[in-house]
């Protein structure tokens, strides 16, 4: 038992040291952009979102095999707890019958954002798959610029050797503003406003912009429009600011400590605690904005 504890604590220290290196090298660099018709996409963020989605899907698939009523396993109990908690939340804010329809969206949103916030603590540095071998004629272990002619697959057009497919370092996708903004647009604009149009009709939706009835409502129209935009801005920047703030603070403190000591307390606070609270807040606010239009009377 003691040996196990010692080994696991050593492994933990090694992991945290490695992850502080990951933060130090890659966190504040601009990730390699992909250009499609003038739109720039961040390669790292897209790959990490895919990894998060794969992790959630795999864990849920593994946990939901061999379900039984009589003898529930550990994974089944855990998954049932999560589902029941969100079922209660959704029923409480939207309503007992209509709320069930929103359960998959809200539960997945929480799991996705929470896993995104946690994945920065996995200590994996970025690497390259399928890299073209260096033209290393004098065998000093590095590329020789003088003895190398322009390769045919210089996709970046920067005159440099193409490193192949970049597997990004494990960083929080939510520290890139585009991910919270995309989630906010999806949940507040598409699901929230969409279900309001579907339930109250287009005319009812337009009337909600003139919300206190009568003459005051006409004066309130610009305010209501700005308020709806402010919802999306505030929900997305809150998540982005907290997670990005954690990344910046951990990077700077690790730099001050010369990457020798690891700020474990900061990882605990900004990684685990703030990450969980902010994931829950994002979910709750999305649910609140949806329930403003879709709640049962």
């Amino acid at each position: 038992m003691k040996r196990l504890l010692r080994n696991s604590s050593l492994a933990l220290v090694a992991m945290l040291t490695a992850s502080s290196y990951a933060f130090a090298e890659g966190a504040l660099d601009a990730p390699m952009p992909i250009e499609i018709h003038g739109w720039f996409f961040s390669h790292d963020t897209i790959v990490m979102c895919g990894v998060v989605a794969f992790v959630i899907t795999a864990l849920c698939w593994l946990g939901s095999r061999g379900l039984s009523k009589e003898k529930p396993g550990k994974a089944q109990v855990l998954l049932e707890m999560i589902v029941t908690a969100f079922d209660d939340l959704v029923k409480q804010s939207i309503g007992p019958t209509r709320g069930r329809k929103y359960l998959p969206y809200i539960g997945t949103l929480f799991l996705f954002v929470w896993t995104c916030n946690m994945i920065g603590m996995v200590p994996i540095e970025h690497s390259y798959i399928g890299a073209e071998p260096y033209h290393d004629f004098n065998h000093n272990g590095s590329f020789d610029p003088g003895e190398w002619d322009q390769p045919k697959d210089d996709l970046n057009k920067n005159g440099m050797h193409d490193p192949g497919f970049r597997v990004p370092a494990f960083e929080e996708p939510t520290a890139n503003l585009n991910v919270p903004l995309g989630l906010a647009l999806l949940f507040v604009l598409f699901i929230g406003h969409g279900s309001e149009i579907r339930i109250h009709g287009l005319w009812g939706y337009i009337k909600s912009y003139f919300s206190p009835e009568g003459m005051i409502g006409i004066c309130m129209f610009p305010l209501n429009v700005v308020g709806k935009i402010a919802e999306i801005v505030s929900i997305s920047f809150r998540l982005f600011g907290n997670i990005f703030g954690g990344v910046v603070i951990i990077t700077v403190v690790s730099g001050l400590l010369s990457y020798i000591l690891v700020p474990i307390g900061l990882f605990g606070f900004f990684g685990v605690f703030v990450g969980t609270v902010q994931a829950f807040v994002f979910t709750m606010l999305a649910l609140t904005y949806i329930s403003m239009g879709a709640a049962e009377e």
Binding site: F237, R238, N242
Partner: protein, 251 residues
């Protein structure tokens, strides 16, 4: 005037973290006040109150975390080599970025303390209502951080959009742009204090109402949403005016 922008970045960092700590400190302390009162009233609910207090304190420190991030970014700017170190307008943008988040964090910190105190006392008074009150508390806490989030947005814009466009200005344009940048920061920062406290008042009283009269929960929630949205509108005005002032930098 050499390196005035570097000087302003350091000054802004000081303002951001120094002013940003005031409200949060008050708010975090107030959460403990609420928890202590609640524990005295219901010693058996010790653990639930402690857990709730920690969550409230995380919200209370949220505003000062934003201020700390801007402070660190400004500190890095101040220590680095800038493109236009003697531009008055760039200096004003950095100073204003610090002022915006520093003043803007004040109200959110205080507001979070108000919500924390009332919700913790409410949980202690009626343990059965814990889930209802926690839900209301989460929404109120998140909502009273909104003005601070707007101030954070304006600070980021001041540092990275406004602060980068001053290489080609003449002296007259420089003075005007400096005033505009300072105006942006002060408008958003000062405009964030009052609404945050107002939203927090609404949320705190809604938490108490949810315990005292659970049969009117729907009514309380509706008036909480409407009241908080209306008191949020003033901070939205401040945001709109700041962004309009920023629009002048595009040309």
């Amino acid at each position: 005037m050499k390196d005035i922008a570097n000087m302003a970045a350091f000054l802004g960092a000081g303002f951001a973290v120094g002013l940003g700590a005031i409200g949060s400190g008050w708010g975090i302390g107030n959460a403990v006040v609420g928890a202590a009162r609640g524990m005295a009233k219901q010693p058996s609910r010790n653990f639930a109150l402690f857990r709730s207090m920690l969550i409230n304190q995380a919200f209370g420190s949220n505003a000062s975390i934003f201020a700390l991030v801007i402070g660190i970014l400004l500190w890095l700017k101040g220590g680095s080599k800038l493109d236009a170190p003697d531009s008055l307008a760039q200096a004003a943008a950095y100073l204003s970025a610090g002022l915006s988040i520093g003043i803007g964090a004040l109200g959110s910190g205080i507001g979070s303390g108000l919500v924390a105190q009332d919700s913790l006392e409410a949980i202690a008074r009626c343990p059965k209502a814990e889930s209802r009150v926690s839900l209301m508390m989460f929404i109120a806490q998140a909502w009273c951080q909104t003005p601070c989030v707007f101030a954070f947005v304006v600070s980021i814009l001041l540092m990275y959009v406004v602060g980068n466009n001053f290489n080609v200005l003449t002296d007259e344009q420089n003075i005007v742009a400096a005033g505009r940048a300072l105006g942006m920061g002060i408008c958003m920062g000062a405009g964030a204090i009052g609404p945050a406290i107002g939203i927090a008042f609404v949320g705190a009283k809604a938490c108490q109402g949810a315990t005292n009269s659970p049969e009117h929960l729907q009514n309380i929630r509706n008036s909480f949403f409407v009241g908080a949205a209306v008191s949020e509108s003033t901070t939205v005005y401040a945001l709109v005016i700041s962004l309009l002032m920023m629009g002048g930098f595009a040309d």
